[in-house]
């Protein structure tokens, strides 16, 4: 206790607050879309009010059933998923889920996707009117849906087109989430920036496959799935580093974060915030632990404001 007291008396607590596209966050830690439900599922485990932001699971215009099962398979230090973007649809989300967020003093970021350009525009319009939503995250990168995401996210022109359309239909900050399954992610990032994105988040999952050798079948009914978890972190850090160099808008780092040290890698290469995905499944308390760990690191290193750490990479 005396130790605790000493801390609060003699040492100024570092500021962890960051700002992305006008959204002020207490700290740079938020869940990655699709790994945190709508938030309620994890409320029993910690105070959601501690988060920098809440990111919803991916929404679409109409409810979506998702893929057949099995939908998940563990791989070495990673997992494959082909949930297929199952979600309740924008109507049910607005009717049943949005009100819940009023309980917390945390910005809410709505992740969404469409199967057609029109759908993207339509969902953007619907989300515009909702005061509980602080910003949207546009998923042009989900590798699971055949007609949708993949096309937009891997071609700079298609990406620019959908970003521009959403930008026009939306009166909130627009975060564009990129897929790593491309030759040069900076080309897509720049296309999104030019088309009006206010921030970039990356990465989504790497497309992967696993086989049950006895049955000779893919372990995932959809054959391929998105690889997430610690396995992909080095690829994610590299891509975030590249994108930070390539664009002027802020970047949110995602991919394999399981602890404060992992999050720090992304912040140091220049991410303004981070999202934690698969690690929530492994430990529901991981995000508050990461927030505490970031504070402890700043204290140890004598960093008064976490913004001084962001982009501090020494080359």
């Amino acid at each position: 206790m005396s130790c605790q007291e000493k801390k609060t008396m003699n040492v100024v607590r570092p500021s962890l607050a960051v700002e992305i596209a006008g959204i002020r966050m207490k700290n740079p830690v938020m869940p990655a879309s699709g790994t945190f439900g709508y938030g309620e599922e994890y409320a029993p485990y910690f105070d959601l009010g501690r988060l920098g932001a809440i990111v919803t699971k991916g929404l679409s215009l109409n409810p979506k059933a998702g893929n057949p099962t099995p939908r998940i398979a563990e791989t070495t230090s990673g997992m494959l998923n082909a949930i297929g973007l199952q979600n309740v649809g924008i109507e049910a989300f607005l009717a049943d889920k949005v009100a819940y967020y009023q309980n917390f003093d945390v910005p809410v970021i709505a992740n969404f996707f469409g199967n057609t350009l029109e759908e993207y525009g339509e969902v953007a319009r619907r989300l515009s009117d909702i005061p509980e939503i602080s910003a949207v995250e546009l998923n042009i990168s989900c590798p699971n849906v055949k007609q949708g995401g993949i096309v937009f996210g891997t071609d700079p022109r298609a990406a620019a087109q959908v970003v521009a359309l959403v930008r026009k239909s939306l009166n909130k900050p627009l975060i564009v989430k990129l897929t790593p399954n491309v030759t040069d992610i900076t080309v897509i990032a720049r296309a999104a920036e030019e088309a009006g994105a206010d921030a970039i988040s990356c990465i989504n999952t790497l497309t992967g496959m696993a086989i049950d050798v006895r049955t000779r079948r893919p372990k995932i009914a959809n054959r391929t799935g998105g690889l997430s978890g610690p396995a992909i972190r080095p690829v994610a850090v590299r891509m975030v580093h590249q994108v930070v160099q390539a664009v002027k808008i802020p970047v949110i780092g995602i991919g394999g974060i399981t602890c404060a040290r992992d999050a720090l890698e992304f912040l140091i290469v220049g991410a303004r915030a981070v999202q934690v995905g698969t690690a929530n499944f492994i430990d529901p308390g991981v995000m508050p632990d990461i927030i505490d760990g970031l504070e402890a690191f700043c204290l140890e290193e004598g960093i008064a404001d976490i913004n001084d750490l962001i982009g501090s990479l020494q080359l």
Binding site: T35, G37, Y42, T69, P70, R71, I72, N81, T215, F281
Partner: protein, 287 residues
Amino acid sequence: MKNYKTIVLANQEITSGTFRMRILTPGFAGTVTPGQFVMLRPALALPTLLRRPFGIFRVGCLPAECDGLPAREYLEILYKVVGEGTRILSELHQGDRVELLGPLGKGFDLGVPGREKILVGGGIGLVPLFMLGEALISRGDRVRLLMGGRGRDDILAVTEFERSGVETYVSTDDGTLGEEGFVTRVLERKLGKYPEAEVFACGPMPMLSAVEKICRGRGVPLQVSLEAHMACGVGACLGCVVKGVGHSETRPRYLCTCKAGPVFDSSDLDWGKAAVSKGSCAEGGCK
């Protein structure tokens, strides 16, 4: 529903390849209902990534000791080594650290008081039935356990059920213990005798399908506990869905095994051909 960072109290092989682990879990016993489960992993440096789901076999409390050790609540799981995750668990020793989330999911509904209760367990599937049996017995119901397995190594904890007041009937496919043949044959016989009974089943999918057919045919109420591949255990990942009744390609109706289940009223499920996730059996891990 708590996120425990705790330790192993004991971890013993009880029959070839099947282990019983006791885990220190203060405050757990008061919150659990029969049929719920936990998500468990060793607190090591990610040898496997995701937690693994396990039924709660029983909960208990070690008394305080004179050397000052306070009373310690624990839970016990019974698990079979089928892959890497369970192999790693089997190598844990007393004092090793584990991470455990639970109790999770929806457990059994105890049904109508006074009516005959028949529990059907297939192999390791008997795990969630023990606490159910205890709960039913303690409120005065008559409880029978029909315990099936391929061979004698699949027959677990029968004496413990008997000690708690459950009548047990053992059958094995190869006749190495109890009656020779499928447990469903025993079920048909018992239902013939007690047509008013309520049935609770947990075991491999083919067994559950057969049980469902028998119960549906006789209009007997049935609750089943299902397995599915799970990442989160709390309804966040949507990896563990099963098809609900009325599910169709155009109007899909998926239910989360971890949240709407693992115990379902059989009439809530779509028992069509691919009714239940192939996932739950894909690895041959179906027990």
